[in-house]
């Protein structure tokens, strides 16, 4: 029994079968990568997991309970956080304020009318936010407006915002897309370190095979909306079909 069980999920967009009979079983505490060419349905699958899309058929169980029909904020409150392909952060707020919001959401739930309390008096929350910022090496940028951050820092901030919620399952949609090699390596180190220290289950979608093989314990290859193979990184590397179709030079 995995922490996340996807069975027989289908999703059509008009005539396009974006997801066809997807089955996925993610073991607790693992890092599970989903790879596949552009348009394979990877982001669509994530959208189903977080409640942005409702599949036509199939079930999605998180810790044994169905998440289908729940709103995104309800699914997040169950313990699923998502990092987007293009960072979704609160651009007009300062980096530090960005960090405070998930801390409040974690403690107070989806709504609380704390209109006359002062942020300055929330010592625990402030400490938690500061601690997380330091962990992603952004403590010196806390007063910057989030929109003025570099691309890499925006991703890092979004990741920190997800992590500070201590999710049970972290979904990452191409977390290193558009990053320079050095930044990519930093992100790999960060994710490995977070996985080791917190044992969060991660589902990661990635194009960059270097990233996939540095992180994943288990890999699912998706093609045209259907899982082709699922195996360990070593076996995937050597898998002739995969090699030919999707990995090309990168794995060689």
């Amino acid at each position: 029994m995995g922490i996340l069980e996807v069975s027989n999920v289908n999703k059509r967009f008009g005539g396009l079968q974006a997801l066809g009979n997807v089955n996925l079983d993610v073991a607790k505490g693992t890092v599970h990568a989903i790879i596949g060419p552009n348009g394979a349905g990877k982001s669509t699958l994530l959208n189903v997991l977080v409640g942005k899309l409702v599949p036509d058929t199939g079930t999605v169980l998180f810790n044994g309970t169905s998440v289908l029909g729940l709103k995104p904020f309800e699914i997040n409150q169950l313990g699923i956080s998502r990092v987007f392909q293009t960072p979704e952060i609160f651009s007009d707020l300062s980096v530090f304020e960005n960090m405070l919001i998930p801390c409040f959401a974690k403690r107070d739930g989806s709504f609380r009318m704390h209109a006359l309390e002062s942020i300055a008096s929330e010592k625990d929350i402030i400490e938690k936010a500061e601690h997380m910022l330091a962990e992603v090496n952004m403590a010196d940028k806390r007063h910057m407006t989030a929109s003025s951050l570099s691309r890499g820092d925006k991703r890092r901030l979004e990741m920190a915002m997800c992590l500070v919620q201590e999710p049970k399952l972290l979904l990452l949609d191409e977390p290193t897309a558009g990053m320079a090699r050095a930044d990519t390596n930093n992100t790999i180190d960060l994710l490995n370190q977070i996985h080791d220290s917190r044992e969060i289950t991660m589902v990661i979608i990635e194009h960059d095979m270097h990233v996939v093989f540095s992180l994943a314990k288990r890999i699912t290859v998706l093609a045209q909306g259907t899982p082709l193979v699922e195996d360990t990184p070593d076996n995937i590397k050597g898998h002739p079909k995969v090699k030919e179709a999707y990995l090309g030079e990168a794995a060689a």
Partner: protein, 401 residues
Amino acid sequence: MLGLSKKDTTFLLVVIFLTLATPILLQPFPENSALAQFNAGYPDLMQRFAIFGIFAIGFNILFGLTGYLSFGHAAFLGVGSYSVVWMYKLLNYNVLPGLVLAIVMSGLFALFIGYISLRRSGIYFSILTLAFAQMSFNLAYSVLTPLTNGETGLQVYNNDPQVLMSEGSPTSPHFFGIVMNEATKVDVGGWQFTFSNGYYFCAIIAIIVFYLSLRIFRSPFGIMLRAIKTNQTRMNYTGLNPRPYTLAAFVISGMYAGLAGGLLAAMDPLAGAERMQWTASGEVVLMTILGGAGTLMGPVLGAGFIKYFENIFSKINDSILHSWFSALPDGLEDFVVFVFHPFIGKGWHLTLGLLFMLVVIFLPGGLIEGGNRIWNVISGKNRKKKRDEAAHHPKPTSHVN
């Protein structure tokens, strides 16, 4: 102090001082000088500053923080006024029951309108609120005549019950015997200062609600509202439900509007449907943007600015212009008066419109941004900041003043 940081406490104290000293500060010109007509220190106008300041402070909690632009807030202003006049008619001229009712009624009204309108965002939300307000306006004019007295407007008549009215009680609005339209005039040198009960009543309430808005701005709730403005997707995926937050902001700002409407009727015991018209809803939008949406003081400044223009520029007429320019040769004098003519008297809207355009184009942050820029030039802060920015480009968030 009062749950505020040191900086905010200082800020609040300055605001309190300025508010209480308004009758003196707005009377800079001696009584019989040529510039006396620019004085704004008379009760009627100062009350409007305070009341529309309250209206704009409340509007800013919705628009400035969440970015939801309501075009129907005048409806709550009207509800507030009607509530107060009804309490005069049923009980007596004490303003307290009416103001409490005004806040409660406008809150309920806002809950209803907000619940429906907030199902949409952006322009659709604005149109929904506008539609509701126009509906309220039209109902107040026609169908609801028994409640609103239609076109004539609601007022107190001799045969009204006024069950709490006794022999000696005041026959105009008062607060436990403090009669609103009474004032003390003080002459100092050539100056005359008017300290009116009505103004101080509004001013003290304005200070209280300003303090509340300051607390809201600094609260976790305030951060959530600003988060809604910048990214609702992230909000949802962070486990937060934006709807109750926006609804709460809508109701709070509706209650501020109701209080402001109530105070209008507390200064002058009348309530008319035109108070709910869309122009009144538009005015508070202008005030907030002109002063600086999302800033604490901006909306108040914007309110003061617009009310000042409405009252002072509209009173300048051609003969006053002629007297100003009488030193010029006749032909030139007539020409200058001709040029200025469209901008004064009834043309004050034109002046205001031009100023509004200038502010929006050159100072998108409103008058507050203008003030900040001037302050930076004076204090030389700008140059220092620029150097910092060049060094490690930080872009500090400033939502402070």
